[in-house]
Symmetry: D2
Subunit: 353 residues, 4 copies
Amino acid sequence: MTTTNRQQFASDNYAGTCPQAMHWFMEANASGHEPAYGDDRWTQKSTDMLRQLFDIDCDVYYVFNGTAANSLALASLCQSYHSVICSPVAHIETDECGGPEFFSNGSKLLVGENQSEAAKLGKLTPEAINTLVTKRSDIHYPRPKVVSITQATELGTVYSVDEVREISWMAKKHQLRLHMDGARFANAVAHLGCKPADITWKAGVDVLCFGGTKNGLPVGEAVVFFNKAMSEDFAYRVKQAGQLASKMRFISAPWVGLLEDDVWLKNAAHANAMAQRLSAGLQGLKGVQVLHAPQANGVFAQLPPALVQALYARGWKFYQFIAGGGCRFMCAWDTQPESVDALLADVKAELGL
Amino acid sequence: MTTTNRQQFASDNYAGTCPQAMHWFMEANASGHEPAYGDDRWTQKSTDMLRQLFDIDCDVYYVFNGTAANSLALASLCQSYHSVICSPVAHIETDECGGPEFFSNGSKLLVGENQSEAAKLGKLTPEAINTLVTKRSDIHYPRPKVVSITQATELGTVYSVDEVREISWMAKKHQLRLHMDGARFANAVAHLGCKPADITWKAGVDVLCFGGTKNGLPVGEAVVFFNKAMSEDFAYRVKQAGQLASKMRFISAPWVGLLEDDVWLKNAAHANAMAQRLSAGLQGLKGVQVLHAPQANGVFAQLPPALVQALYARGWKFYQFIAGGGCRFMCAWDTQPESVDALLADVKAELGL
Amino acid sequence: MTTTNRQQFASDNYAGTCPQAMHWFMEANASGHEPAYGDDRWTQKSTDMLRQLFDIDCDVYYVFNGTAANSLALASLCQSYHSVICSPVAHIETDECGGPEFFSNGSKLLVGENQSEAAKLGKLTPEAINTLVTKRSDIHYPRPKVVSITQATELGTVYSVDEVREISWMAKKHQLRLHMDGARFANAVAHLGCKPADITWKAGVDVLCFGGTKNGLPVGEAVVFFNKAMSEDFAYRVKQAGQLASKMRFISAPWVGLLEDDVWLKNAAHANAMAQRLSAGLQGLKGVQVLHAPQANGVFAQLPPALVQALYARGWKFYQFIAGGGCRFMCAWDTQPESVDALLADVKAELGL
Amino acid sequence: MTTTNRQQFASDNYAGTCPQAMHWFMEANASGHEPAYGDDRWTQKSTDMLRQLFDIDCDVYYVFNGTAANSLALASLCQSYHSVICSPVAHIETDECGGPEFFSNGSKLLVGENQSEAAKLGKLTPEAINTLVTKRSDIHYPRPKVVSITQATELGTVYSVDEVREISWMAKKHQLRLHMDGARFANAVAHLGCKPADITWKAGVDVLCFGGTKNGLPVGEAVVFFNKAMSEDFAYRVKQAGQLASKMRFISAPWVGLLEDDVWLKNAAHANAMAQRLSAGLQGLKGVQVLHAPQANGVFAQLPPALVQALYARGWKFYQFIAGGGCRFMCAWDTQPESVDALLADVKAELGL
């Protein structure tokens, strides 16, 4: 891998498979024939490791991607005539092509307000939840049943343990279940320095979709039910929805690589550090405004249009966010400091600094 | 891999990843960051190879497993109030936990009769199709819109080119679309010695689900639309249904390994040969009845109950078919002749031969 | 209405609205503006009457037709990856164009065997249930969750109280819920002479779809949940699925007409008596075979093809059943004895008797 | 009906059945047995009348209510991974408990901006459509396929012929289909004084849901496809979705009553006139602000909170709109001038005028 790969800031799913995941992928292949559909030793091993990691006897299911993880988890928490409360920038609302509605057969997403300071940081607030639940109670309005929060958020921020607890408190007050979209859960934990249990079940989360792909896996996410009553017959749901891998070991074994020796956390901490490095480098540059301090692995900044075009022309890839016109620079488990520095150098060169 | 792995006859999805697929999996990882969602060079390459293989400019989509491949393909061929005609032993009818009904939002499967000779070999017949289409035409009966055949069948038999053409003729006569579940398509082609085009689009097949997993991939199937009018917006369908891999290269690159140098065909031919070897060895053994000559990679045989139990006790794994009580021995791309011989030796030992 | 209306035997939904239902329909219109969506006095009144009729504090919902009643009830009893066990001639299997699969988003119907004596009378048996539940327990087979029986059956027969109890016993043994399709529930009660409670909740039925249309209503069925735990949020389900009448009084008030003075039972008893009259008249006629003694309001008989054609030529309308080639003559709340006699006279005339 | 029924302003679905609809309802019952499922003469007659009214050979289907009419029509215009563009106050977005998402199996509704003058009047604008279509074109965003407008709008305003044409132009530009929710279509036509064809197919509308219930029917709406290519197999869709009345005549015959002698238009004109009368009476009253001039049959006004409570205390029923805190007073086909005057008198009395 060249260190100045200019695609490194487009998305953390542009990154490849980390060595430890690759090791276990190959390991799982070494013995030839093995039981299918999860009755293999790697699936057992990674599941045990997840239970140990979360310090609870949770139910774990492996699915192929985040669309499926979140959509299936939500579908298991509500019926088609219920609704799911989320933030306006929630991935499930903006980037799943109606996946949650499809898997749930029609559950409507209700988006919280987007004017508060917290909302500007991509966070859902207890007040927004309360407003959506209490504004109506007639049957023409799909009954709120689930709250979904993304940890880390789509704007690269992280809910504190207290924030999750407050959301959970409000959710429980209204008999709502709490789902956590953890596509970048590792980055959140790395930022907070807490134990995984602290911002999940101990804070009231019922089910977590733990993202593996952005953290270094080739393919796969884990759906972790802390509330086991909610996972009844979930294996059937996974099967029917086309998310049961026949050669499951190739999905689960790489998880062993991530979980062993806290690779997942190290990968995330590295990506977060690269975002800090980039953010620090952008701070104070004339015409550049970092929109908010990065907490996870993404930097959101306002750049002069000419600079944006110039960077694209130099081959850099990054996304421009619809809302507000900011640019998003994502860092991954394998983003090189040299790449960050090269990007910064190009920015400065274009700005004539 | 030990040559006497006693799990080798349970299912061809107990097999691992073949070396060529593994090679390209690693190759795809070597360059670090690459575009996601299929905008990578391996996806382009494997797709081009599939178009070349089928000798037509087809539309190709990669999904994670067979449940999804078949269900999404069927959903794209009909609406919820239509029906799909298939054989009583069709995998989509018996082993998908309602997957086709889920993805199509309710399309009913109508099963053809199961008394004819062809039906006993797991095949759908033109007559059975005709009967189901013509028996009713009122709106209380879901209008037949699709015919689905499995090639090779679930009973290890293979439709001849003429048989596919006759089914296609009947389907077209009734304005039905033709879907081919090709979980073991490679084994069928290896048996027939024809070109892939001959039993697909040239014989009237609109869409093929080309199985990669059982043929040596770690994960993944290809949905191949020969009739491109039917794949309109299929990419959106794949996305919404949770079947779009973000790191697509890890799904598509292994296909390059299968397609290069006809590995897919060699893998299948080997599995077929192992089934022949096993079948030949079982022929004429007292109390053992091979139910029909194997054409693909599975042997179906009636064994004395005591023998079945004895083999299980010796550690052999194989399934007993619900209908008729027969035993199914599946062979895979990596089944060793020594394993076949060891199984046969155990059978003979138990029979006192 | 002329007494020799030759359409009277086609279907009991060819019949009109009975006078008592019509009376309350008009009564409900007399006062002008009234609360919508069921907050009116007729909905309250008919619901109270149904609770009294069933001698239990049940949950009652009014929907527009039988497809919706059965499909919504089934959807509330299971998830998409579950299955519903029913008889091969069950209306939900044969005549709903995939409605149950649509509303449940994919629940598969599993049909019981059809060779036993009971099956020939259109009944599901405890043995058939047991077979379907115990034959497999893997996740590729949609987990059985509901048993659905039709009372009276589609073949004009009636489950005895004991038969319902035995089915219920088997259902409960396997943790299955019990649904009763009561499109002709009134005819069953009229035949049995029991109390409505005896063949419903006292016999283990969880939810009944009580048919009003065939019994004399212009439109509408009642979904009656005896097990109130299963009707949680059912009002939302009804709303979302397009089954909530805004001017509900016009659906519910006619029920008052049916329930007052046991009109529902008298209507059913009359229809049953007409079926008896017709059956008695057909008995012993040369070439005519009454397939089984009618218990509800339909007569199923084998007639010589020439006779069938001759009756059609004379303007009589009746259906020929797919299975077995028998003819179905349905009687309704308003079938005239003179019509029965005219039909019998024409039969005899054609037979040269 | 007393002339001072204080429920008359809650909703136009609080109104009863108009005499002409009632007449035909009874007429349809007079002849006893008649063919079911729409093969009757009244269904033929009302359908012919609708074709004449719209001056085109359209496809007409009768369903039970507006939720179903709109949801089924939308489902026939798009697939689950497509999206429907509508206004933020569209009934399909705010008051159907997720019905459109349910029937379409997941189609997402995208709401247009709500800051323009037109938006404040409840109207969707061509610009809003253009913005939603052009902002993204990736597969993570459900592809826009349908535009839905409500005529008259939920805020009692009416799109002019030119406005419908401009929306249609923008829709066609982007290959979008155009659906009209006509729950109060009659009121719109009465206001515009145009021919029904002018604001439907001649202006580019593909399918209209023509509301009958609010216009004087007991139950039922008509789905009118001007673009017949889009109604292929719609009868099956209606059946599967539980919207096919077995005794169809009781749904269709009342339509004859509405269509004969332009009763539908007279009913609507009367309701509109009552809204004008009420609006005129409220104008200029101290503390009362009519939010915009009524064009259809609803008056939206801001009232002092104390006045609102006082009116409720006097027994008047009306809804308070969530957005903006305004009050909605709906008039119906049978709203009495005396009721309007009584309401105005109470308002003045409470204001001390």
